[in-house]
């Protein structure tokens, strides 16, 4: 064999953790086709044998939007033609974020059988969770189109920022899958805690209520990562103005999130196989 034969090397005295973590991330990206195939089968398996399949999600989101839209436009005394399209986009984006965070907690533990048998980059499982949630969320896209068509809301120029917003969400999803995936594998109590935090976050974040209702306190929402990251997707779809403060906050939070996840990954990557 040539000198370039593949080599597995490990020295506990010099673990070279950062190098290995970067190699793991690159290895995961190289295997994007595996992550894609696994994510796709996750989605089809979840709905195998059901007639409407993932369109059930679309349907239930649609019913939810209709119900909440009619109720809250009355409660908040808002024009339903203005409120409902906003709510539709809002709920769909929030559902994506909530699903991403919830799924992140089991991103590694659900792949336990593979992690303990097959030497794969762990980042493959994070990518898989991210792609899975984006695929599921994509089923709601027609809903946005339908609502916008019914209420005659045309997309504005801001829509060019939509890919950037979606990229931020995807990046956060990947970071959360690795960070929460590891933490939840080690401490099994974290999952339920994250669940209740997300429930609280749903009410504290302007999802069903508009941020303007806070009045003078509205700028405080700029400190809310859920709000600003969500807004990077919601605003391009439905609102006119591009608020640079929102983007600055979202970018800042995302950078901090990724840095924290990376630091954790560098330190504890080698322990994951023992934790799951």
């Amino acid at each position: 064999m040539s000198a370039t034969a593949p080599m597995l090397e490990f020295d506990a005295a010099r673990p070279r953790r950062r190098e290995r973590a970067i190699a793991d991330l690159l290895g995961g990206l190289v295997r994007w086709r595996l992550a894609w195939a696994l994510a796709r089968s996750d989605v089809t398996n979840r709905y195998r044998g059901s007639v409407l399949g993932p369109l059930w999600l679309t349907l239930s989101t649609g019913v939810m939007i209709l119900g909440l839209g009619l109720l809250y436009s009355t409660l908040f005394r808002m024009d339903v033609r203005e409120y409902l399209p906003w709510l539709a986009v809002s709920l769909i984006v929030w559902n994506l974020i909530a699903a991403v965070i919830g799924d992140a907690c089991v991103a590694l533990t659900s792949a336990e059988a593979v992690i303990r048998q097959v030497p794969l980059p762990h980042s493959v499982h994070g990518l898989r969770a991210t792609v899975r949630n984006l695929l599921i969320a994509a089923h709601n896209l027609p809903l946005i189109a339908v609502v916008m068509a019914i209420f005659g809301v045309a997309p504005r120029l801001g829509i060019v920022l939509l890919p950037a917003g979606l990229f931020l969400v995807a990046l956060n999803s990947f970071a959360a899958s690795m960070l929460l995936g590891m933490v939840c594998a080690r401490f099994r109590d974290i999952g339920p805690i994250v669940g209740s935090v997300m429930q609280l976050a749903f009410f504290m974040t302007p999802v069903i209520w508009k941020p303007e209702l806070l009045g003078a306190l509205a700028p405080l929402q700029l400190l809310n990562p859920f709000y600003t990251v969500m807004e990077t997707v919601r605003a391009p779809l439905i609102e006119a103005a591009v608020d640079w403060r929102v983007w600055a906050s979202a970018l800042g939070w995302t950078a901090a999130h990724c840095a924290l996840a990376f630091a954790f990954f560098v330190r504890f990557r080698g322990r994951v196989a023992f934790w799951v």
Partner: protein
């Protein structure tokens, strides 16, 4: 040239999800062999302790020892699944692992989908995966059942598929947990021939086994593990006699 080098290697399994406190009390009472508390006061199982050995080109090594001696853990460590807590490990050469042939199988997907998935797990390109699918299909002989979900297979059929997928490779370092055998009389003969070929083609074989006949037949060297330590290492007959 394929080569495995292991120096002072240790693996410890932390036991997180059980009543560590009550267990600790018991650990204090008895003097346990492998359960202990580490510096951070966690209960850990010393799965492998201070192993050193080197395996060179052409060697056929059997890992023998009782259940729980650390054979599978050592194989998984050599495969790169577990990172050692101490010591050095280097494996040169492409690794093929037959530790769990079922790993990564999706019961809801069809046989063919599973083969393509296995190709992706191994980092194959589309074309290579298709070749793999063809080869596996031929060998497993499942005919039209290849396009039916795996969970509807009889256990014999499932074993055929996983055997065919697992053995469709040409590794330089072959890691195997127990000699695989599969299927009815007709398939068994073919499986034997194929596994024999795989073993002969590999530059290094490391196999954990309880079957001494197989060890005598295929291996040139044996390493006996006991409670995570190497207690004997040498030619098969010597180790088995000792």
């Amino acid at each position: 040239m394929a080569e495995i080098r292991v120096e002072e290697l240790s693996i410890e399994f932390p036991l997180y999800h059980l009543g560590a406190r009550s267990l600790k009390k018991r650990l204090l009472a008895a003097t346990p062999l492998r359960l202990r508390t580490d510096d951070a006061n966690r209960v850990v199982v010393a799965a492998l302790r201070d192993l050193s050995f080197a395996i060179g080109h052409g060697e056929r090594v059997a890992l023998i020892g009782h259940n729980g001696a650390g054979k599978t853990t050592l194989l998984r460590t050599l495969a790169g699944v577990y990172e050692p807590v101490a010591g050095r490990l280097s494996v040169r050469g492409e690794i093929g692992s037959l530790i769990d042939p079922q790993a990564g199988m999706d019961p809801v997907a069809t046989g063919r989908e599973n083969i393509m998935l296995r190709g992706l797990y191994r980092g194959m390109s589309e074309a290579e995966s298709l070749r793999l699918a063809q080869e596996v299909a031929e060998f497993a002989g499942l005919a039209e059942f290849l396009d039916v979900p795996v969970r509807t297979y009889s256990s014999g059929m499932a074993v055929r598929l996983s055997f065919a997928m697992a053995t469709a490779m040409e590794p330089e370092v072959l890691l195997m947990d127990e000699w695989l055998s599969a299927g009815d009389a007709e398939f068994l003969a073919r499986a034997e021939a194929r596994l024999g070929q795989l073993v002969r083609d590999a530059e290094i074989l490391v196999m954990a086994s309880h079957n001494m006949e197989i060890v005598r037949h295929w291996c040139t060297r044996a390493i006996r593990l006991e409670a995570g330590r190497i207690v004997a290492d040498g030619p098969v007959e010597e180790v088995l006699a000792g």
